[in-house]
Symmetry: D3
Subunit: 341 residues, 6 copies
């Protein structure tokens, strides 16, 4: 990796997540689990657990709930150097309510993030040398979609990071409750000229970007339209809220090659939130720690996502040692030990 | 629906349920979950969640535990207009202990309801206009079986409700620990002349009522012997304590037709208690909200039961919006979203 | 009481309260207690527990968290007839974070209620006959202070209720974080001509309304300036976050008399939030159930507040039986039993 | 001590206790603490912790809840040799609901023990050699008061134990919710001729036995009327549900002497239930382990009761080592360590 | 069974087990479940639940944590007659951390047992008559592997028990983290001449004892090399951390016969720790209660292990009644009730 | 402060703390709170919360429990740059069991830290530039007392830090369970020549260092015997486990002056563990942030300790804002708000 202080900086909102424990429901019960999440944070945490030096660029309320988030994030070894605090009396922490599912009942999310302190984030709050501080900068379509101001800030930051030679990673992460497909496409097409590593699901390629053809053809076509080096696409099969299969394909434009491995099957899904972000964390770790080895990206991305599904909360917890053990077992044919003892 | 103030009144005992959390056992552990249930209450709650105006006819101890039950019931929007309180020093809340199962260990129930305040319920405690207050009156074989007095009261109430043109709904709900099949049959045969909607499982038809033939033949035969309009029979397949399949058939005597749909498969069973009652709630909602559409009864009954299985406790929590979403997904063929977001 | 369907309707915001259990802190810990509160709700609940028929006029988000609040409120027997639902995608439930104190550390509150669904409440959403539905209408300075729209709505409703002969009860409940003393005074002076029962602390009379003289003189002066019948003022001495003394004075303008009793001392404070609202509930119960007996108002107000302090959460739980027992013990001189057995 | 296998056998009902945690109330909340208690059990447990070999004579339901009680009791090293099981389908475990208090709200108890399996206990279920198995036999007025059958059984057992030279210990433990003072007096006077060690509070002596004079005079008069050797009377001052003072006097008829020490002051009361029973456990330990040293009985009785008050649940947990440390500190004048480290 | 006071005594370390609840991880979270386990204890508990009179031979710290273990063990009716206490200031309770798995993440164990009080156990602490107190003595390879001293003590005890005609039961229970296969083999070969009942898995036979041939051939060969009467070998198939299949084969050397039944399939695994020990408990119960009926041993062993897998913690909870019901269902072909009611 | 990267580095063991929740006891109960502590860590955390840049020098096991500690420590913003990991198979995390007290029962501590990974800490594992990295280095008598190796390492580090001009802070923290007073004195006298800031209680001065005279005389005499600049001594009065008074005196040798303020009275003690360390954190913050202002040290020391007593666990949580508010209130005479709102 380069000699910049950070391997990865991500820009995004940090959210409080409130979930009833286990099988309890939002409309009942007397307690909430108090957790922290956010697509871009999830990526930074996952990559930090694998050994990258990462940080998050964000704005938080300056009160106790902002400090709660800061403390939780720091516990994962993520830098808070680029946390800016909102001291206004309206400062608020965006939050969401989450309820687990059980077939045929689906998991449920209710957002309450509007006008959070992050909505007021400003490029002016961050030092100029931040743009030279990282090997790679990552953000997602969520940050673009939240509001006019976060969109402007994100695009501005992408341009500034790009201008210093920072690798730009972008995850479409389309959310129909934040914007329409058309709004998303128009906006994202503005930034695709800056993107080096592009995460986009098959459905989004087809429905939002109106691509046609096979999944592989669509992936490749992005690299033909834009100077994108790498396109990654995940494939999740949801058997029930508690059982998924997960795999991915990565396309390397320079080599014109696709990378793939056997998907993880029969994943015991405890909490699927953040498993897509964990994939990105694993994939970026694979790429950044190897100078662009897409097969490594596939292996760490898939394993990271499979593992995250087994962990409650948005944030992954698996370090490099655990990840390597899972990858080893996944690729091993013979009998396996049933316990780490 | 008619212009009576209630769509549905049910008569039955309200019980305290004490269960160890999750996988803990009755013989161990330091805490109990404190919940409320009862077959007829479960029906009233389920129907209220879907939009019917319902109430329960019951007697409770006048002390704090009776108030606990009252508060819990009211939180579901059920009327407590016909709650009568037992002020005697022996007033007690019937209760049961429940332990979840895990294959090959089965769920376990221990009842401690004898001589509860409900056992002393008296027709004299209720106002005469109660019998004109509801479109439909529902009770079950449990109320008949508890003791001489509840049996007398229930039969008396059935007659009085019937005499004002109230639709009578009855669920056999045979419990071998309360009475013998023969006692049940003799007693229930007294009230079948008053019943309009009859819920009876295939096993009970065969073993208790000594019917023969196919399930459909047995269902029909009840309508031949008695002036019953509708017979509903549920079909549960227990793969393990954590995985069931659930479906049902409804027979409409006037049309001489059977109604059925694809059963719900691979239900992630969290708590099967009350799922039969949830079926009845859904079916009665279907019938009462449509003037007797049996297909609607099948759809809402099946969905209500499938959903209840995914909810801890006796009481359902799914409102009409959630139910409609589940029914839509159940009947949809294409790909489905994995989350309500 | 009059033959209107409700004894008391209150107008106000219903809030989600999130508190760490026991002595845990907001900046740490993995769970929140999930409770419901709101000054005007607290009054309606307290009065309902004592036997008044009460309801709340409010607007809630139509999603699960709104339903959670609705269910909780209904469990106390409060009517939700005048709950209006916000179906917009921005619908949100106002909330606050609460941390218990331990001397010398004080309890702490962080509000996150801005732009909640209640902020958008509109007179147009409520039926005209609501204004004839209650013997008494209650609201507080908080509703006036939240935003321009709630202020307008509240003043409008006060006028409409007044015009039908409804008794108007108003609690200043001054909160420096919502508006300045001057703003409060100007606004409240607009509505004092409509107020019959006025709750105002000594500090607020002095600092906000710039009254001078003794507490009793200030109380009386309000009735000289405005057609107010009754002024009540509470007196709390905070020995530590866990030990308070509580008493009150009520002034009856018609009789030109002050009512008072020995304060409750050495209250074991578990949760002081809502104890002022409990006082109002008790006082209104005393007044409304007796046709204006101020001594009864003092007795029930003080007892209700003392008891509320011993209960976690904003909402009281003491019914008339418990309240009467506490009042009896408070006025009794001899030895007392140490337990209700 | 004698060479009988047990130092102490007590006869009494074992109850399930259900309490909301901490400050929660019976009428609310979603969980109960699941504990075990019973006056005579509490005595046996307290004495066993100090080193006596003790057992309980009782009857329990043969189902899981009976086993839960059995397991809990065994964990304290109490013998279950004289546990008899009720295999009837009506077998039930007596229970009570308990709510903690906070001034001015008092602790609250609701019993639901009627017709428990213990009510059917029969002398015929126990082996003849049980009556020669213990140095001391203890029971209380509660067992006498429960029902006709337990009264008969208790009196019969007292006579049989007495006839083999067993020391008879009896605690009046008057409960106004079980019988009247007159009923109690009449019944207890039948057994006083058999009693060696008699526990009776000043209030009970005065109100129930209609004694007059000072506390000490009343204590002595029992030994004049009956062949009682030792009378013990406890003195509790309840400052608030959370702060008590506890002391006692013991009268030794043979020596015609009174024994007393400085009471324990400022006890941080966590749970006062069972603290009277703990006193008896300590006092019996003092007497039985010393051949009748009443001063030892006072010291261990007082310390045991003071300690029990600091422990949640009915059952004490303090072993001889802890008790001795507390007694040492209580009698020590100089500075004390603040922690056991 | 013989007229010795105990049916079974086992020698082994009692451990504190610390596990995060449910799906939480060791590296996170604010609480631990506090449980007790240990291979030889698990066997004694399982056998006691089925009706054998059992005890454990062990050494514990004399402080509160030793007492915690003692109390927990006693609650299962296990004798603590042969518990010796370590009063040294270094006395410590061995412990282990346990984390549940979810596919593809495996359960994880971290031991911290070195230099626990058990490591210093000495034959001199136990009375000579202990060696004549039991029909059967059981220990495992873990006790041999912990340290030089426990190995010496275990071998010495085996010899002494054998010399009085006690049946010697031994479970290899090979743990690669305690010793190498070669160390294990050398050590165990010293004690095999004393062993009557030998528990050894197929893998261990092949890898540690370097046996060859089929599983059955290897089992038999042990009885040819040593005077072993019975060899039992379990067969577990791990489909995922939450789903196992379990069966076993027992070889009776005297009859030269193998015993086996249909394995338990689709076991809902809650906690697999101790399920191997539960097998031994069931098998020893089968053998000791029948004078050596190997088919009974297979049936009770398999059922005990299947049931233990559904129970959290190391210790089984199933008594003879539950076990018999499971065995009956396992062997029954027709439809089964889904609940014990 | 100097331009060294850290304001404060402390050397010490990081411990897992296991406590039953609330009033539960070590010998009972099913769960533990899982917390992190250690005298020197507590100091680093307290100082970091106030704004100093701090780190801990320690050695931890490389497994999950070491990572748990690392994560928890990082959440407070403490640097883990000088955490060394023990990869041996015997690596263990030292731990202690803690039970809260309630008068007359005292809090209780049981240590199980012997041979933890910290015991093997070696100077060789740390880089040479560590000794130039901090303005101040702090350690305590506990580190000296644990074992020969930690003593050697600590003394060696003190010398090395001193040689680069680092301010040396030392807290005697005498623990009679780790060494005798004489051992402590002999060892500590070796390091006093290097110490700049010395924390020593009056009792320790008298008993361990055999000083005589008033507290102030003893404090001064240390600065006469050694080149110590500042001596601080705390004064705690324990009214009960739940109520303390706390104050301190600081002596500045250069100015020959004593600094003191009114103590904090009626502290609601939630958890007194770590309150002495919090004092040191506050005092060091006062000194280091001001270039040696002893009055600032007294103010922040006292406030930090008073606040820590109200927080569960070893670690403080109060940041500069909260501390300043408490100090302001402590010095304010008039009426105070009862809540931070």
């Amino acid at each position: 990796m380069s000699n910049r202080p950070f391997d990865l900086l991500s820009l995004g909102e940090l959210l409080l997540r409130l979930s009833p424990a286990g099988v309890e429901r939002l409309v009942r019960g007397d307690s909430f689990q108090k957790q922290v999440g956010g697509a871009e944070l999830n990526v930074a945490v996952g990559a930090a657990l694998l050994g990258l030096h990462t940080g998050v660029v964000t704005q938080l309320p300056s009160h106790d709930m902002g400090n709660f988030v800061k403390n939780k994030v720091r516990s994962y070894g993520i830098s808070d150097d680029f946390f800016v605090y909102d001291h206004s009396s309206d400062a608020r922490l965006g939050l969401y309510y989450y309820e687990y599912g059980a077939h045929p009942r689906k998991p449920k999310v209710i957002y309450d993030r509007k006008n959070s302190s992050f909505y007021g984030i400003s490029v002016d709050s961050f030092p100029e040398d931040m743009y030279r501080a990282a090997t790679c900068f990552h953000t997602t379509g969520i940050t673009l979609a939240l509001c006019e101001n976060t969109r402007k800030t994100a695009i501005d930051m992408i341009r500034r990071f790009k201008s210093t030679g920072t690798i730009i990673s972008f995850d479409v992460n389309f959310r129909g409750n934040l914007w329409t497909g058309e709004e998303a496409r128009e906006c994202i097409e503005q930034i695709l000229p800056y993107v080096d590593i592009f995460f986009c699901s098959e459905d989004t390629a087809r429905l939002t970007f109106q691509k046609t053809g096979t999944a592989r053809e669509m992936m490749k076509s992005f690299t033909e339209d834009y100077p994108i080096s790498i396109v990654a696409s995940t494939q999740r099969v949801v058997h029930s809220p508690k059982s998924h299969t997960f795999g991915s394909v990565i396309y390397d434009a320079a080599r014109d090659e696709y990378y793939e491995e056997e998907p993880y099957r029969n994943i015991d899904v405890v909490d699927r939130i953040g498993s897509g972000d964990a994939y990105i964390a694993g994939a970026l770790y694979g790429l950044l720690s190897s100078g662009g080895d897409c097969m490594k990206a596939v292996r760490y991305g898939n394993a990271a996502s499979a593992l995250k599904n087994t962990i409650p909360g948005d944030l992954p917890t698996s370090d490099l040692e655990e990840m390597n053990m899972i990858i080893r077992e996944h690729n091993q044919k013979g009998p396996q030990s049933e316990m780490s003892r």
